[in-house]
Assembly symmetry: C2
Homo-oligomer: 149 residues x 2
Amino acid sequence: MEAIKNKRMPVYPISIAAKLLGISIPTLRMYEKEGLIIPHKSSGNQRIYSEMDLERLRCIRRAINESKISINGIKSIYSLIPCWEVVKCSESDRKTCNAFQSHEQPCWTFNHPNTICENRDCRECDVYEKYSQCGSIKDLIKNISGIST
Amino acid sequence: MEAIKNKRMPVYPISIAAKLLGISIPTLRMYEKEGLIIPHKSSGNQRIYSEMDLERLRCIRRAINESKISINGIKSIYSLIPCWEVVKCSESDRKTCNAFQSHEQPCWTFNHPNTICENRDCRECDVYEKYSQCGSIKDLIKNISGIST
DNA sequence: AATAGTTAATATTTACAACTATCAACTTTC
DNA sequence: GAAAGTTGATAGTTGTAAATATTAACTATT
């Protein structure tokens, strides 16, 4: 048995996740329906949340409750993540990719037929994993621009 | 007398602007207080709106009413505009610039002491003028990244 | 096989952001 | 200089996004 604590490992059923976050179960489902989070699913289609999922959700809650950014606002912000630079997709990938065009939905809410992302799991993609907060998104934009330091 | 129609020319007092947009005067003042718009001011401190201001405001209204993005969401989105690439500020400018750090407020809501923006009027800056809609912001991010076509 | 927890879907509640109204002091217009 | 319009500020209203409750069918646990 692995005793290593893995933040990515799905461990919490929805009732526990809701309790830990202090919100209701339908709210968690809504965040998922809106594309803000992609929880792992069991073989019987039940949601299982990891420690990282909880961190992500706390970040989302802060955006909603403290920063007063609406869910659609968060989605729009996520849609601005320069995913093409993170996954290093090709020019032809970009040409057909719906996510590349969108400024309303995060890229991980799209199918990606005929792109480098086609058979990848967005849940394990850096775009989804690393850029869940606004600050890190701006940092990424800084990095991809021609900035020295 | 110039007969040329200049979209940048301030011409509408607040009552007319409000009527043209179908909103109340206090709402227009609120958008300004939130930093979404910078109307021209007369010598007696009265607001005067240009055709471009109205276009900008229609864009903001669409974001709020149709896209359901909250005002703070719009501010956060504006804060992600890579202004440093537009105004071509120096590394030392960036080091001290509050706007460069922020992911909550658009750059034009900050003072810019000791930067290239110090004595410039944000109202006439490309950052403010050209990137009032989400789509154009993503296009700018695309342009500054190492994308070919 | 019985109990507890989950699913998706719909209906309902609630908190508050967005907006409006009103005010006395000031500016503009004719 | 009188009438009309604007200023910032405060108080009040309202539409609806966000959150919750409830349901019958399903999955997991003992």
